[in-house]
Amino acid sequence: MDAAVRELSYAQAIQEAMAIAMDMDERVFLMGEDIGVYGGAFQVTGDLVERYGTDRVIDTPISELGGAGVAVGAAVTGMRPIFEFQFSDFATLGMEQIVNQAAKMRFMLGGEVSVPVVMRFPAGSGTGAAAQHSQSLEAWLGHVPGLKVIQPVTPHDAKGMLLAAIADPDPVMIFEHKLLYKMKGHVPEGHYTVPIGKAEIRREGRDLTIVATSIMVQKALDAAAALEGEGIDIEVVDLRTIRPIDRQTIIDSVKKTSRLLCVYEAVKTLGIGAEVSALVAESEAFDYLDAPIVRLGGAETPIPYNPDLEKATVPQVPDIITAARDLVKGVR
């Protein structure tokens, strides 16, 4: 197969990044629940334990708080741990170590240590796993100075941003939407990085800017394609990093299109859409707006089990199409 068009799934891309990092650097190792012979709950670590052994692919007890703390302790003493939370919902169990320790240790100690830990969080709804295994909690962590929080959406970015995260001296939290794991895309061979803190314009357009995160980028692109036939030309910005946020790319895009729609899966209120809206409203792009900013986010409810209810909880392509069309046509 031509290397230039080599395709991997999102999960395979992450696994490849971890293998490359472990080959390059003895200090890199993996920790998490059932990431060894089981291969991880979503088969992201796969057979890595066979290649790197149980010293570098460590099955932890079901101890998210302790496990996160061990990863932090290893990171400040010279190792490069990658800690997998089995589901992002379980961040709630490790929050103390993430928020009070990993995020603040360098600051509290006046720069005397670095905390180069990577934590991976399989996130999001759509798997029928109900309220405690389907949440999108990235904004919680995005609120904490000291952390970096990323949401790659393509296999290419999943690999490149993970390699950037491993090389980063500060703690990086990666939210991986579970429905992306099987999606395929072009992934270059070998080592490369995709910078943290830079948004990517996935599609250029003149009439409306959609700033989307994670799997909503795919849905926004589908909506944009559908509206093309109606003569509506949509720009889709893949935010990729929610802390530190790429203000300039958003502002420049809104200045060009004069309309902004934010689309994200997490609960709408106090979410990333509020931040994006506010930063546009505070910027020079405000004067360019021809219409009120619109947010499409998750419903104000836990994620339900019933598949129809579950779909109705988060924005779907038809919702984005309607919101985008109304916004461009001035329907309030």
Binding site: P61, G66, G69, V70, V72, G73, M79, E96, F107, G111
Partner: protein
């Protein structure tokens, strides 16, 4: 001061462990450091009362033998994690009181450049990975440091200090379990001073001795009188040997007492005046150790006075250093949040 006389050395065979293991000069240094901890905290408390230090602080006065005993067998590059009551640990591991005072004064010459204060005092160069404002917060971090030691084969031993309150936190149990299953070179030191803030261990803890928790994680659980330096040091020495030999962790319960309240807001309503005075008058760790040293002929009154004078000068100089040091510029507020910023 000269080393031990021949008579002293000959009679050492019958003395407690530390008097056989360490030289008289090393033991006099221990007394010096115990005084340094005591006077540092008294000095910090006085500066606080005079409004020179803001915030709050948690004093370990009465617990000096525990900090010194545990750190006695540690090498300089061995590591510790500490607690909100961590001034003694910091000094015992080798910190300079001048830079500690500077930190409490919020100055750039402080160990954390004025960003941490009392509750996050650290000295990474000497292996102190930091005090911690979260009860049990440092315990999993110590286990992670021990994992680094094992993976990188550095031979380092890691000590995690925590109080009796921490033994009822989930992090304690998760961390001890992981240290045991992976046989990591870590020593868990519970400084049981009888009260988690105001709640006594009898009211908070289902086991009589916290060392009993060790059985649940298949590691030795050792109880020592935390106010007797030689007892603490002996237990620590054995635990360090076990850790370095790759045999895994130990839980040491060091039973002690804090003379002061939990923090500066404490009205001491949960314990009696008689109880406090009894501990101060009859079980003060510095008095106990000083008496032993004198009784065993390792020091005389003149030697003790010399230590007290030297410590008084160190404290006075340290406070002057802190006062004279520069405060951080407001423009540096965001330094150290991310590595690329500073």
């Amino acid at each position: 001061m000269a080393g031990a006389s021949k008579a002293v050395v000959d009679s050492r065979a019958n003395l407690p462990f530390v008097y056989r293991q360490y030289s008289p000069e090393q033991l006099r240094q221990v007394l010096h450091k115990m005084y340094l901890i005591r006077r540092f905290e008294e000095g910090a408390e006085e500066c606080y009362m005079r409004g020179l230090i803001h915030g709050t602080m948690h004093l370990s006065i009465g617990q000096e033998a525990s900090a010194m005993g545990i750190c006695m067998p540690l090498a300089e590059d061995d590591q510790i994690t500490s607690t909100h009551r961590g001034h003694g640990h910091c000094i015992a591991k080798g910190a300079e009181v001048s830079r500690m005072f500077a930190e409490f004064f919020g100055k750039t010459t402080g160990y954390c450049k004025g960003r941490g204060g009392s509750m996050h005092i650290a000295d990474v160069a000497k292996g102190n990975l930091g005090a911690n404002g979260i009860v049990a917060g440092g315990i999993p971090i110590a286990v992670g440091a021990a994992l680094s030691s094992k993976r990188m084969k550095t031979g380092k031993v890691v000590v995690s200090f925590f109080g009796d309150g921490a033994n009822n936190e989930g992090a304690f149990h998760e961390a001890l379990n992981m240290a045991a299953i992976w046989k990591l070179p870590v020593i868990f030191v519970c400084e049981n001073n009888g009260y988690g803030m105001s709640t006594s261990t009898a009211r908070s803890t289902a086991v009589k001795n916290i060392a009993e928790r060790a059985a649940a994680y298949s590691m030795p659980g050792v109880i020592v009188n935390g106010n007797i330096f030689s007892e603490v040091a002996e237990a620590s020495f054995k635990a360090v040997e076990r850790a370095r030999a790759g045999e895994g962790p130990t839980l040491i319960e060091s039973k002690t007492y804090r003379h002061r309240g939990h923090s500066k807001s404490d009205r001491n309503r949960y314990r009696t005046k008689e109880e406090i005075e009894d501990w101060m008058a009859n079980r003060d760790p510095i008095t106990l150790f000083e008496t032993e040293l004198r009784d065993f002929g390792f020091i005389d009154d003149q030697g003790i006075q010399a230590i007290r004078d030297a410590v008084a000068k160190e404290i006075a100089d340290g406070i002057e250093f802190a006062k004279a040091s520069p405060a951080p510029e407001i423009a540096t507020l965001q330094n150290y949040v991310y590595t690329e910023h500073a």
